[in-house]
């Protein structure tokens, strides 16, 4: 991933920066230009809580090349208290224990090593809530 493309995503991936629609109040993550709920275009910057609840999940056994060293790993759709949903790995536990309804904390982690140079890419992952 060329660096400008990576750099543009940093606010969302490092800080959970999201958008709150000024018209209908929906919180969208990552922020975007048009509100998917009401098509509003006026936004207020907001940040997601570093926690949420698993909506659905899986354990990836057959992984893409860049993630093969990590398989098997759990991936989940997590809903934060703001009502935004995001996809994330859930780690620091048995992958099979990650099930719908589980409470997770979101933490800052390395996500992948990229390309022949092994450039490190960061973001958030879920861990079992304390």
């Amino acid at each position: 991933m060329p660096s400008p493309r990576y750099w543009r995503e940093i606010p969302a991936r490092y800080r959970l920066e999201a958008g709150r629609c000024r018209k209908c109040g929906k919180v969208t993550f990552p922020a975007r230009r048009v509100c998917p709920a009401c098509r509003g275009t006026e936004w207020e910057k907001t940040f997601l809580s570093w926690k949420g609840k698993v909506v659905t999940s899986t354990v990836v056994q057959v992984a893409p090349t860049e993630f093969q060293m990590e398989a098997p790993y759990a991936v989940a759709v997590v809903e934060t208290p703001e009502g935004a949903r995001l996809m994330t790995q859930v780690v620091d536990c048995e992958p099979e224990s990650v099930q719908p309804g589980m409470e997770v904390s979101l933490v800052f982690r390395r996500i992948r090593k990229e390309g022949a140079g092994g450039i490190l890419c960061y973001g958030f992952k879920g861990v079992p809530a304390a």
């Binding site: 995503e9 893409p64 860049e66 993630f67 995001l86 996809m87 992948r112």
Partner: protein, 382 residues
Amino acid sequence: MREVAIVAAGMTRFGELWESSLRDLFAEAALEALAAARADHLDSIYVGCMSAGQFVGQEHLGPLMADQIGMAGVAATHVESACASGGVALRSAFLDVASGMSDLVLAAGVEKMNDGADVTAVLASAADQETEAYHGITFPGLYAMIARAHMQAKGTTEEDLAWVAVKNHRHGALNPKAQFGREVKLEEVLCSSVVSDPLRLLHCSPVTDGAAAVLLCPLEHAKRYTDRPVKIRASGLATSTMALADRKDPAALDAVKLSGERAYRMAGVKPGDIQVAEVHDCFAIAEICCIEALGLTEPCAGRHAARSGLTALGGKIPVNTSGGLKAKGHPVGATGVAQAIEIFEQLRGEAGARQVKGARLGLAQNMGGSGASSVVHIFEGV
């Protein structure tokens, strides 16, 4: 709008076709369709293909394919909608003929997946790159999350999923063009390796090379090319959110429901009128979600349909008589057109051992990504 018919079809065998290139596959299917209609010209060509650019480094498929069948000069367009590329190519051809712009149009689909690309990574490019693929999710992973949500909401079990594979392999065993023309036992499915929990290898469609092509013209010209045209009664295309996380109910495929409703309305028919259907069973859970979304079963009864025989050959509404993506194979860009060909043959009474007796009205549903796009066509034998 003019009434539109399919008058001829051509299709390669599906499988790991080491001796055929992307262009060979396309040419074989296209030339078979042209020969069947004794057609010596075309007004336009639509080539459905998900990602020749990533699979074999080839873009610009419109002119390439027109040139390969000796038709350089003809209007030709590459159509992409991930795994729904073939179905959307068919829709584009339908609109072209229906509008009166063109009189003889080839709708084709092709994919060459076995030439060394990182298939899992290429397919993952049909997901949201920034919010899904970045975190290591795969396509089996996305459908596994749909499956787990479906299990939570509707009590679907691993065995229900396995029955879809057993049924589709039974159908595929009757299809000489299928990649896996053999049956599988329930126990084999349930013991196959886990790809992405709860989906096992035999819940998943394979990696496939193949091409399919159909020839379209106005219904009023159809007799020039065939005695048994099949009319396209309707075409419905819909989208949903790109990311699975953005769907209120991950187990409901909104785009499939919407595309079905649009097609039923256009055709003026109800789900209960459909006598044979091909639906997008890229993973076993997808067939269950799709038959529910299309109204072919009650909203919570999809999980029982394969086991009870409702959707098997001989059942009330046979689904995926070709073997589906599971057994016939899934060369992603070709799939939508291949589905239409199965219905075309069924409605002409040419499906051999897979024939649904007296079928006159059929449906094909083709889907892209984790259900972010879906296209439905309804066909009638005339």
